[in-house]
Every structure is written in C-alpha cells, then in structure tokens.
C-alpha cells in the first residue's frame, strides 16, 4: 500500500505575498525525500523551503542542506557538489539528474505546484 501523502506545507509554490521572503524574491519549493534521508533529516516525506530565484537544482539543494545540515554529503559531494551516483532528481515526470545544476527547474517546480523529487535509484537487483 502506498502511504498517504503528507500534507504539503501551506502556501507552497507561490511567492509569499506580503512576507519578507516574498520581498526578497523567494519561492516556496516542495521537495520529496527518500525514506533514508527523511530519517536522517528528521522530517516527513515532503518539505517546503524558500528558495531564491532563479530556482535551480543548486539553489534547491543549497537551501535543503542549509535547513537540514545532516543531509550534507548524502545527496552530493561535500566539495565538488557532484551528485552521488545512485541519487536521482525527478520532477514533472522528467529525469533531471543529468541537467546542469544551474539550469532552471521546470516552472511547475518553481511555482510549487509540482515537487522536486530526490530519489534513491533502484539498484542491487
């Protein structure tokens, strides 16, 4: 059985009208974590974070690691920031793993209507 999805944080997606975050051009982004990283970070399935525009892989991961320092090194290398080999990034039914970390993410991610999925690759047989 697929567990029920946790509620998305209120206000995800849109610039936060009237808020200081909105004034700084931040977007509220939804990120879905794999089970082991949820445990490590002590979060639920989905987290919502304010990310500066333009919304890119790098900006999302920077914000995620700043909020949850335990995830540093678990998704990408500490120093080179290269994605770990068995971690994948999906969004809007697309595999974005091989996109440039500085490429803008799909509008639906930047708008918060679709989550940015961090996935542990199926491997091991």
């Amino acid at each position: 059985m697929i567990p029920p999805r946790e509620r998305t944080a209120p206000g995800a997606g849109e610039p936060r009208a009237g808020s200081a975050a909105a004034a700084r051009g931040l977007r509220r982004i939804r990120i879905v974590l794999p089970a082991h990283l949820r445990t490590l970070a002590g979060t639920g399935r989905e987290v919502a974070l304010d990310v500066e525009s333009p919304v890119t892989q790098r900006a999302v991961l920077d914000a995620l690691e700043a909020r949850y320092p335990a995830l540093r090194g678990a998704i990408r290398d500490h120093v080179t920031h290269r994605r770990r080999a068995l971690v994948r990034f999906f969004a809007c039914a697309r595999d974005l793993s091989h996109e440039s970390p500085d490429a803008p993410l799909p509008d639906a991610v930047a708008e918060g209507t679709e989550p940015f999925l961090i996935v542990g690759a199926i491997a091991g047989g």
Binding site: H36, L37, T39, L40, R72, G73, A74, H78, A123, G124
Partner: protein
C-alpha cells in the same frame, strides 16, 4: 553489579544488547539506523555513554552518528572526510595508478582519555582524527605521505584502514593496519609513520617479504603488554614482542591459518582467540564446523572451543571487527557472524550460546563493561 553492553553493527542497522554481569539474559534494542550499513560502533573508554557509529550507504554515502546516552538517542555528527592536500594516487587492482577517493569509515577508535577525540580508519586507506566529538575531521597525512602510499593496493574488500590500536602506556604511540599494505606504527602522535611488517611472508605478492603490500586482516594488543601484538593475516597468525619491529608466526596447529578476527583475553596477556576460516573464495569455517581456537601460550598451541557452537552445516563468516571481549572477572567473549548470530561465552570460551540470532549479517561487535 557490573553490566555489559554489546554494540553490534550489521548490513542493515545497529543493535545494542545489554545484560547484567551474569550475561544470561539480554535486552536488545534496534535496529538503529535501519537499512544502513553500520561498519563499526564503539564507545569511549573515558565516557562509556559516548558512542560513535559509522553509518554508510551505497546510495547516500557516509554518516557519523554520536550518542551521549549509551545509544538511547543519536545525533548526526560531521561526515566530511577530505584528504589533505592533493590526494594523489594509489595502485589499482590492475597495477595502474588510481586516484585516492573516500568511500567509507571502516573503524572508529575513541581516544583512551578524551571522549571528544576519536580516530577514523577509512577506505581509501587513510587515518582521520576529530578532536571535537566528531563534528569535524582532519586527515593525519603523515601516514599516506610517508612514501609508500602510491604502491598500496586494495585487498578484495577495498583499500581499507581497518585496525587502529592505541598504546595505553604511551600516548604518542599507535598502530594501524591496512588491507593490503600492512601494519604501520607511529611514535609521535600520528605525525610520522613507518611500515612495521618485518617477518611477514606473503607468497601472493611479487616479493613475499616486501616492506609493504601484506594483507593484514586484524591486529590485537593486550593492555598490560603494549609491546606484544598479535595479527591475523590473510594467511598466518603472527606475533610481535617488540612493538611490531618484527613478527614471527604462531599459527601452530590451527586447522587453517586464514581468518579475520583475533582478540585477547581481558586478563591473560598470553591468551589469544582466533576463528579459522577457509581461505580463497570460500570464507566459511572448515568442514562447516564453527570453532573458536584459543591459545593460552601466546600462540603455536591452539585448542578448539566448540561447546554450544554449530558443528555441522555451518557456512557463515566472521568478519575482522566482529569479535570483542568484556572486562568482567570471568572474561566474556563475543563474536558475530554473517549469518546474523552473535555468540557469547561467559567463561573465556569454554561454552557458547547465541545471545541473538537472525540479525542481518554482522559487520562488527564491540563490548563495553559498565560499572
């Protein structure tokens, strides 16, 4: 009354077993860090409630966990292991140079005196130290930098620094072992190192008596005799009486001189334990009989200890960090198998029983004797 805490690292999490000094009833907690590989957990001798754990995953890399309450709760600690300077290359399996790349922490060795100081032996082989309770890590580069590093080659399990032995009588002396480079000793607080493999003979390398290149599986020291060390090598059980300046073979009458673990009786510096394992690709007990061998004479003369251990159809392995002893008056001995059993003896090996079975494959066993 004293009690015992057994820290078990497995392929799919950590388990903590506790008992009073009788060691006949065990409480088990876990899995801690379910689904992750726990290569090693160890408690600080200076503060038994301070535990360190190496948590690793092929997907999500290396984590270090720290507990301040004996393993009831844990917090993620620093996991950045960056080689000092330009990492350089070591030898790959095919003999070509291969860049040094951090993969995982095999062994954590807390300082004998300071709970916040802990050493980490890692793959690709290097020694790191934290002096702030594992928040940050710094390589001790004298080991890889002493000259032979470019010639080190990995064993079948990788180029791993798996053994760290601290000298209780000399805070500046320590020993480490690497598969497959061998033993190194420092006399200056890990600043400089020299190979300590004289007397080892390994027919599987081009020069069987080379200064480095030996597949040392584990080393052990008795706290009361820090100049005497014992070694389980890929083949051969070895002994040194001069702080690893030289080694001589003490395999004696063992059914095979291959194995991974070696450990010492807590109170008898001449009493040594090994678990012979068939070599090459088999890596299970000879004849399917799980036997601990004990020497009360510092090697050469070994007796099989079998009571309570399976003596037929047993094809598990016992990995290099998966044996430990407690410090109670009647010395307890513990080992874990790749079949998920942890066996214990409360009478120095005379009799055994499983204190847990059906865990994931056991990678490491450490024991704390608590007041």
């Amino acid at each position: 009354m004293s009690s015992v805490r057994v820290l078990v690292g497995t392929r799919k999490g950590a388990f903590i077993l506790t008992s009073d000094g009788r060691r006949d009833r065990w409480d088990i907690t876990g899995p801690h860090f379910a689904g992750w590989e726990l290569y090693h957990l160890k408690g600080s001798p200076a503060d038994p409630n301070r535990l360190y754990a190496s948590q690793t995953s092929g997907w999500f890399g290396q984590q270090i966990q720290r507990s301040n309450d004996g393993g009831k709760t844990w917090e993620p600690a620093g996991n950045q292991f960056t080689y000092a300077g330009v990492p350089g290359t070591h030898q790959w399996y095919d003999g070509t140079p291969h860049p040094w790349e951090f993969k995982r922490v095999w062994h954590l060795e807390p300082s004998l005196t300071d709970p916040d100081t802990v050493y980490a032996g890692v793959e690709d082989a290097a020694l790191f130290r934290s002096a702030d309770g594992a928040k940050t890590w710094e390589e001790l580069p004298g080991l890889r930098g002493h000259g032979s590093g470019p010639h080190w080659a990995p064993g079948a399990g990788g180029l791993c620094l798996h053994s760290i032995v601290l000298d209780p009588s000399d805070a500046k002396r320590m020993f480490i072992a690497i598969s497959a480079a061998g033993v190194f000793r420092s006399d200056d607080g890990a600043a400089t190192w020299r190979p300590a493999n004289r007397g080892l003979r390994s027919e599987y390398i081009p020069d069987p008596t080379a200064e480095v290149g030996h597949c040392v599986h584990h080393i052990a020291m008795h706290q009361s005799r820090p100049r005497t060390l014992f070694m389980q090598k890929h083949w051969d059980v070895m002994r040194s009486d001069d702080a690893a300046d030289s080694w001589h073979e003490v395999s004696g009458n063992l059914p095979t001189d291959f194995g991974f673990v070696i450990d010492m009786h807590a109170h008898e510096p001449q009493t040594v334990f090994v678990i012979p394992i068939k070599s090459d690709s088999e890596h299970y007990p000879p004849e399917g009989r799980l036997r601990v061998y004990r020497s009360r004479t510092g090697g050469n003369e070994w007796e099989a200890l079998t009571e309570g251990l399976p003596q037929r159809d047993c094809y598990v392995n016992v990995l290099r960090d998966a044996m430990a002893v407690d410090g109670l008056e009647a010395c307890g001995i513990y080992f874990g198998t790749t079949g998920g059993q942890v066996y214990a003896s409360a009478d120095a090996g005379d009799t055994w029983k499983p204190i847990v079975r059906d865990l994931p494959a056991v990678l490491s066993v450490e024991v704390q004797t608590l007041a």
